[in-house]
Symmetry: C2
Subunit: 94 residues, 2 copies
């Protein structure tokens, strides 16, 4: 699961979308207007962000409104804190 | 650049290798012994980790010894801190 989150964060456009959403929720159309990419491309990025749990998607009438899932950001920061901590965390395969 | 780092972190085996290296440097062979994957697969993961700047690779005779690049971890935590901060950071494309 954290793997999906890191993968979602690996793309510059997706990170830009997250930065936009720091200021509050936005509709898919409002987000797409901020980029030169096609609406279809931005929709695809939004889907990946949603699947990774980084954003919430909320249908309101004909719009889908996106907002940050700040809990997941806290989870990632927690992963790094755990990494820095002597006491364990994710183990190797064998 | 941070995109490559997130991409490298998106794989479970690569994260496991990073956890192993928290305890100190290890040769490619020592790392590979800890996993059920082939040595070639682990070598590929090590290359991606090195290219992402997450580990250092140091040739010593016939061995390549890997160690954590803790600076890059600090950079990522810094990215999240910047993200949490009101004052800006990465901007959108347009």
């Amino acid at each position: 699961m954290i793997g999906d989150t890191f993968k979602a964060l690996s793309d510059r456009t997706r990170r830009s979308i997250l930065f936009l959403l720091r200021d509050g929720e936005m509709s898919a159309g409002e987000i797409a207007e901020k980029f030169s990419s096609s609406h279809a491309t931005i929709s695809h990025h939004l889907k990946l962000l949603k699947d990774a749990g980084l954003v919430f998607a909320d249908r309101r009438g004909q719009n889908i409104v996106y907002s940050l899932n700040t809990t997941v950001f806290q989870d990632i920061v927690g992963w790094f804190m755990n990494f820095a901590d002597e006491g364990g965390g994710e183990k190797n395969e064998k």
